[in-house]
Symmetry: C3
Subunit: 273 residues, 3 copies
């Protein structure tokens, strides 16, 4: 597994894939910058008249519903359809999916009519997609929704199997499954949820790595989550005596400086199935 991750990591800066992202206006700047920092190239076009042309030149497509609205909804549907036609990997970040009927219905429709490669969300979001009883606190996971690792593993596996895709549930321990295999990741830091968009950025990293090869979606998703986690750890070390503003800035330093050596030295994951 580690060898696969190393290979993807080393390819991204060579291939510099274009990652088309239809996302929210809260964290879009950070998402574009983290995409550049990891070695890919972002394109954030979102009008329905042009998204297909951007998908056409993209190596992967990221859909993030953080500030979903009626216009973006149409753009997403067109872009994902085009991506499916061209076999461009599609990553979905179902931000706050449980918080409104609008988001819930949209994600349900999208998952029914199209093929998604990888979903990254918190436990509240993933449970909501599975129609498990869940709470919501906007874009953040609700404390009541936290599950034991065993339950989280079962939930990830269940959704992955049901939809035939890779599911990443990020939290204190991250769990990633393609339906058969399951990996648990212990990288990360308690400050990550204190900066808006670290979930969104994690999804941008997943989409960036997915842009290097459509056959390694499981590994690309794992590497995206590990990259964000390690970035959080290093940023914490560098900002301990300063605060959240410094931590935020150091996240970009860490992603930009991320390499094979750091991956080998700091990654903390385990294949548990």
């Amino acid at each position: 597994m580690l060898n696969d991750l190393v290979e993807i990591l080393n390819q991204i800066r060579v291939k510099n894939p274009l990652i088309h992202q239809i996302t929210n206006y809260v964290t879009v700047n950070d998402c574009a910058n983290v995409t550049l920092a990891v070695g890919a190239s972002p394109a954030m076009a979102d009008d329905e008249v042009e998204v297909e042309e951007f998908v056409n030149i993209a190596s992967s497509l990221l859909i993030n519903i953080g500030t979903l609205n009626k216009n973006i909804k149409n753009s997403i549907i067109k872009a994902v359809k085009k991506a499916n036609e061209l076999e461009v990997p599609v990553v979905l970040d179902p931000v706050g999916v449980g918080a409104s009927k609008f988001r819930k219905d949209f994600v349900e429709e999208l998952l029914k009519q199209s093929s998604i490669s990888s979903i990254r969300g918190n436990i509240s979001e993933i449970k909501s997609i599975l129609n498990l009883s869940s709470n919501t606190k906007g874009a953040d996971a609700s404390k009541e929704d936290l599950e034991s690792i065993d339950n989280t593993v079962n939930i990830a596996k269940e959704l992955a199997n049901k939809l035939g895709l890779v599911v990443a549930i990020t939290g204190e321990v991250d769990v990633i499954s393609d339906g058969k295999r399951v990996v648990a990741i212990k990288n990360g830091n308690h400050l990550l949820p204190q900066i808006t968009g670290t979930g969104c950025m994690c999804s941008s990293l997943v989409a960036s790595y997915c842009g290097t090869s459509k056959d390694k979606i499981f590994e690309a998703t794992i590497l995206g989550v590990i990259t964000m986690g390690i970035a959080g750890e290093i940023a914490y070390e560098k900002s301990k005596n300063s605060g959240l503003g410094t931590f935020h800035k150091e996240l970009f330093n860490s992603v930009g400086n991320f390499n094979e050596e750091i991956l080998k030295q700091k990654s903390n994951f385990k294949k548990i199935m």
Copy 2:
């Protein structure tokens, strides 16, 4: 008064209230991050089909018209109506209200048909709402509009009385009134207006504190303005030999590190009525 402020400050990190913000796309990321830094949780949904559901789970609602448009206008009207029904406090930041008929008419309509808890603006914006002759320079206060402290106090009191809410006029000296009481605050720094969105962030802080208790709007507004002012002072000290980029980053460090001790040591306000 100081004891009330201390109480709100200590409650916010315990209650971690959800603050629904319908705001502008220029400063939205900074607003979300300052909300997290002070101990609350932001939700920035703005499509009219879902804003009511977000108000439903929110502890306060912030309306910021920095990039008002026709879609957002409808979302604001629905969200505020819902907030009024549920008695969720509503904070208004009337960004650049004097700069266009569109903004002027909208704020007038909003104030007529709904109940707002607290308004925070610069002197040009507050004078424009009162239909006093005012100038405008986009989102910034015009130099010609600056008034003596006595006049500023009268203007704040007049608007507070007229509308039955709390008014905060921020500037070199900040003046806050609920119509009877008036507090003047001398915290702050000359660099704050050189970063876009420090007014917006101040309003997010006010809304965050208002989310801890609907009965302490006057105190929550004062604490929001003091927090931003002290953050500006500390950020200035830490960035004096660097510049605006460092100052911007240090604002988030300062808000994230803000606590009772710093409040007691650095706050500089006076009840003048």
Copy 3:
């Protein structure tokens, strides 16, 4: 030439011109902050019902099509028409113009029906406007489009002559022409394209300087490009041992601290025609 640049630089902090920017939501915060840092004042209103009122009080207008959509399109047309009536300089940043028919058609229409003062783009964008064969990688220049300095000079001159405006092609060497005169600039740093929006910010700087005098568009454009380039050089020196997050922050420090002495000491440009 250097004297002209010094004069503009010294005037901007005295005049503090209001720069109306209709731009994209990816980089809008950085564009507003760089405008403040250089000594101007930003206004980012973009609804068609109010843009004319903002142009009315603005000293220049910047159009950036980074996330063009149908609503913004109408706002741009109205704003530019008003600016032309009032002889307010208009700067165009044709972000990713070659990436979609929507952008291509819109820029063509805009250039046909209105008067633009200055265009700043990368080589792919400028070639696309000239209908020269060009590639596109979203908002970034394509490697295949890179030209020798001689060809770049010819392309800049040709477009400047054809449209009767100033053209700035930014890249490793920046080339700026008003159709007769040509200046080449060697300031800049290889990290600038690794932060999203450094092109957009450069255009905001051009628009800011254009706001000091409508008779010095060529010089204002040169100074905008030099300012961004030197900021990149200084930011690189200050962030060498840190990374992209620090580099990003230092860009704002550098623009905020930019002055006559730094300009004289570090500018590296040559009038080649």
